[in-house]
Amino acid sequence: MKAIRKFISGDDAVAEAVRLASPDFIAAYPITPQTVVVERLSEMVEDGSLVSEFMHVESEHSALSACMGASAMGVRTFTATSSQGLLYMAECLPYASGGRFPIVMMNGNRSVALPWSIYGDHRDSLSQLDSGWIQIYVEDAQESLDMTIQAFAIAENAEVLTPVMINLDGFLLTHTYELVEIPEKDIVGSWLAPVDNPYAMNFDNPRNMGFSSQPSDNTEFKYQQHKAVEDSRKIILETEKSFEQIFGRSYGGLAAGFMCDDAEFIIITLGSVTGTCRTVVRELRKEGIKAGLIKIRFMRPFPTDEIIGLTTNAKAIAVLDRDISFGYEGTVFTNVNSALARTHNDILKMNYIAGLGGRDIPKESIREIFKELEEGLTTRPDKAVKFLNLNVETDEKYSDSEDNSTQHHREGVLLWS
């Protein structure tokens, strides 16, 4: 038997990957747009294609808490959630990473309330960026499947032992159907080594876990945790390489560049909007504009060196953030900016806040971003953060700050306040 190709959604692809990785323990609680994963896995357990202890928990907090209990026993564990569910398990996120439990979790990226929205953006997972988890962002259903399998290999690696969160854009990816190659279970089984956690509970050498620390030790625990995530870069690349050797697919490490070698204007993305941006970059190249694209695949560990390397010839970059850290800027931008501050202080860096709560990011707007980058080289806007296609009056100054209409808006707002 060979790999088969099936027309399935992103959620289905994750469920297929979980079936192939065959975790001993799964606990999950339904939430749109992740629900399909939980349903598929339940069906697989029912029909026997997945042999796993599947726990119907009463909340996300319990889902991750139970995963920690199971992981402490040294078995492979999986959970999945989204948005409010991710926030509801927030207490358990640093607990899982600090306890060095190699749990794999799928997160269907969804806006966080209020206002309620079941549609996608990255505020949910980015709000947990500092929780100690490795964070992967994928672009399509095939990458979802491939990276879910790789996530187990990365998390469970004895040098890493850190939980991995794999993020799929809600609806745009979780519910979009694509042709996906599903590898054979035996082949995945022989590629993915069984969990062998030397620190797990066992009867011969009992473990006391989840302990307290004193000020004299706490920093050292945190440092080791930091080091493990830093060092996971090597394991991530090795995992990708060996996966490619067997399955023939790879995605470009922690950050994948597209036409970046000589690119003067680069857009930086996370997740499914990458496809649209790639199309625009291709079009612009035909028009003679030196456009490029960086797709960030891992937000933790952060691809600092990759981004510095890919922007060598850049004059201006735009980070497309599907999130906003209120009162500052997009979180991806903050991270990119910090990386580039080491070497690229002179280039123009813009931050576009777009696609919040499921809003479409049209091709034309991305073309517009590239245009603004080019113009920005002369106008040098003093404000980096711009909300794309904003439908509300604003007194914010952008590159067109001398424009009369902006002036008018500003007065309008003043009248109201």
Partner: protein
Amino acid sequence: MSAVGFIYPQLCFSNNAIISTFPGTASMLSGVAAAAKAKGYKDYHVLGIAGDGGTADIGLQALSGAIDRRDKIIYICYDNEAYMNTGIQKSSLTPFGAKTTTTPPGKNIRGTLTVKKNMFEIIAAHNIDYAATASIGYVQDLINKIQKASLVDGPSYIHVFAPCPTGWGIKTDETFEIAKEVVDSGLWYLAEYENGEFTLNRNPREFTPVENYLKKQSRFRHLLEEDIIEITEARDRKWERMRRQWNKN
């Protein structure tokens, strides 16, 4: 436990042990139990201990879920009738009248206004395989119940009454006596729930005076005569119902 016996590098258990999040005792136990099953272990017990706050308040949801799933866990509620780690705040298992730092008795309010949540029957209402109440004042009874729980092929719950000298205003060497007296005065009871039936394990013909029990503890010292009457009447109503509806042995 996390505050006293689990501080790196002094880890005090010679068996496998883990501290959960505060709300997560039952859910973490469930995960351990499921993994033990997945590993095909045969001879093992999965036991968890949580406080009254961890059980009846913040962890009630996870506990309810675990019992509902019939996970094979032994859950012990260590009931010292308040949040003691954080310095004596009221929980839903703090009894009527008790003084805590969040229910300070004064001119307007005389301590805790709510009555102790009926956890034993809430747990029993899940149709749990085995549930029991106990007190550290009746040690043999407690040991018997833990032994019984260990034989159950499903969830079991033991609610243990355990005085806290600092939180209650008693001397350390009075702990045992108070834990016995609470049962003898009828303010706590020893019971079991099994096969859908309740059984009173101890049914005293006569109670010792409620007042004696209360007056020994500084947390009740502010109570007025009318409060003590109210507590006594509530006790009598509870016993009247238990004696009428439950088996006795």
